[in-house]
Amino acid sequence: MTDVVLEGLTKTYAGASAAAVAAVDLVLASGTLTTLVGPSGCGKSTVLKLIAGLLPPSAGRVLIGGRSMADVPPERRGAVLMGQDHGLFPHMTVEANVGFGLRMRGVDPAAIRRRAGEMLDLVRLSGFETRRPSALSGGQAQRVALARALVVDPAVLLLDEPLSDLDPELRLEMRDLIRSAQRATGITTLFVTHDREEAVAVADRTAVMLAGRIAQQGRPDAVFERPATRAVAAFFGIGNILDARFDGRTAVTALGCLALAADPPPGADAVVIRPERIGVAAEGAAASGGNRCAATVVDLGYRGTHVVATFRADPVTLTAAISSPIAAGLQPGDRVRLHLPAEALHPVTD
């Protein structure tokens, strides 16, 4: 069991004005799967390379199992990288690919064959031993890559967008495979992705990275539901951001005074609400409690599982995800009353 600690990890590429990774502090608890999520170019892949030792940090350090990795080359860190496109060696058979790490360690050939066979079994690719990577589908290749990574029994598994080249169905299958393999082996895993759903679906913990910094980290549901900053809220698809002043548990916004369920953190200057948490009622409906406002339907967009409704509640525009039956009774131009429940309103800082 190995934990990974990043302390003030910083990387500035030669010639770049801003740091690609800026003073990142992150703890990957032993045996957990942490997702690192952020838009492309936010520096998340650089973090992986720094942990793997493929790049030297400009400042800060990486500790794996409590040991500083400053002078440890990649091949002795026990941190295996699995890339976006499978990165299989095209000149080797599937079996030779899987056995590669063991061969580099001088394990005897019979043992390599046995272990490679076990791993191919685990990823359900027994019988593919003599194939070449070019004769595999994208999903199969990615599974071979997973087997190749797991066979060396790594202390840390570093996954760089492992699903982004796959079709939607394969994606789910591979995601579950990675998750179950990770649970079974207890390998400390850092999973980098730009996909928000993926990030919160597989993780024990989620860290959001924006412009080289960790903007927020915590349990996936906490990060998803309660973003700390406007930028994190926007990244998780929350367009409903209302500028606010706070007076105790009251937020003073353009929509009037809104009650909050908890005290706002210091420095908070806006409240956000997830689209699926906004309640919609007909204009004349009996309204009990506060946090209600009049609004006009601007647009209704059918999304299959739900309807994205845009409302104008002067002077702001709010977006709500509502169920189809409720949307069926609405048309653009209709007057409604919106309910912003106090427990769903979340204060954020800039």
Binding site: K49, A52, G53, L54, P73, P74, E75, R76, R77, A79, V80, L81, M82, G83, D85, G87, F89, P90, H91, F100, G101, R103, M104, R105, R132, P133, S134, A135, R148, A149, V152, L158
Partner: protein, 288 residues
């Protein structure tokens, strides 16, 4: 048409298709045969010339078998065995030098996008566009001052003018299909820098680079003008010797030498075809 009809037509359809493939295969075989004949037939008279003397118009067949030409080719006094060694040495040297310079250049062109890359690519091609002789005229003066004119080393260096563009362009295309992230993954899987080079990088790049080296060897091997100019006639390589015998009217010896000079080309052709076939089998159709 009902489903039954459809099913009934299937075997016939299959037969028609195999018939068509049969015709296609036969056509391909005939075309290949014709191509080989076209390439090899010109060598038949050369081969005959090399084993006869005094074969002139209107005689249709050579008068008698005469191996004198091969005797000349094999005798040390003619200087031909030495010329073979000299040519091989110069071509090998030019190959090694152009690989040492051209492969890193090709790597940079193939792996990195940098401003002005198109210009560099155009410049690399320039020696093939500008007649090399024009460049060599200028270089000759420099070589004279450096004492390289009239030496095998000088000839070897001047051969870089035509060999380098091939090596750079071929290795650029080899590297552009190479994903260096594969090396990263190999490192984290437990391979040292040296192991990555030995087990990943070299085996992945070797077929393409071997073809680049073959090109360089052949281009140097068949070089005439540059050798004559910079060697000043003091570095008689095979093409120069061949020319001497042609102008001297010894068509039998010339023919024998011609056959000798063709040999590396044929070997290289077969070798590179095999290397490329193996590499493409590995990459698969449409593979990276």
């Amino acid at each position: 048409m009902s489903a039954v009809d459809l099913a009934a037509t299937k075997p016939a359809d299959v037969a028609a298709r195999t018939g068509r493939t049969g015709i296609r295969a036969r056509t391909a075989r005939i075309a290949t045969g014709a191509l080989i004949a076209l390439l090899l037939l010109p060598f038949v008279p050369v081969l005959l010339w090399s084993v006869t003397r005094g074969w002139f118009y209107p005689a249709i067949l050579p008068p008698a078998l005469d191996l004198a030409a091969w005797g000349v080719v094999g005798s040390p006094e003619s200087g031909i065995p030495a010329a073979v060694l000299r040519s091989v040495g110069i071509a090998l040297g030019a190959t090694v030098l152009s690989m040492l310079i051209g492969v890193p250049a090709g790597r940079a062109l193939g792996l990195h996008a940098f401003p002005g890359r198109r210009w560099v690519e155009a410049l690399v091609l320039a020696p093939l566009v500008v007649p090399p002789l024009a460049v060599a005229m200028g270089l000759h003066a420099v070589f004279l001052r450096l004492g390289l004119a009239g030496t095998a080393t000088g000839v070897m260096i001047v051969h870089l003018i035509p060999t380098l563009p091939y090596v750079v362009l071929v290795s650029a295309s080899v590297f552009s299909r190479f994903d260096p992230r594969v090396e990263d993954q190999a490192r984290t899987l437990g391979a040292s820098r040296l192991q990555v080079l030995r087990h990943v990088t070299v085996p992945m790049l070797a077929p393409g680079l071997a073809v680049a080296a073959l090109f360089a060897f052949l281009v140097s091997w068949s070089q005439y003008g540059l050798t004559l100019l910079v060697g000043g006639g003091q570095v008689p390589t095979m093409p120069l010797i061949l020319n001497q015998y042609v102008t001297a009217g010894r068509s039998d010896v010339a023919a024998a030498i011609a056959l000798l000079t063709v040999l590396p080309g044929l070997v290289a052709l077969v070798l590179s075809a095999r290397i490329l076939a193996r590499a493409s089998r590995r990459d698969g159709e449409g593979g990276r």
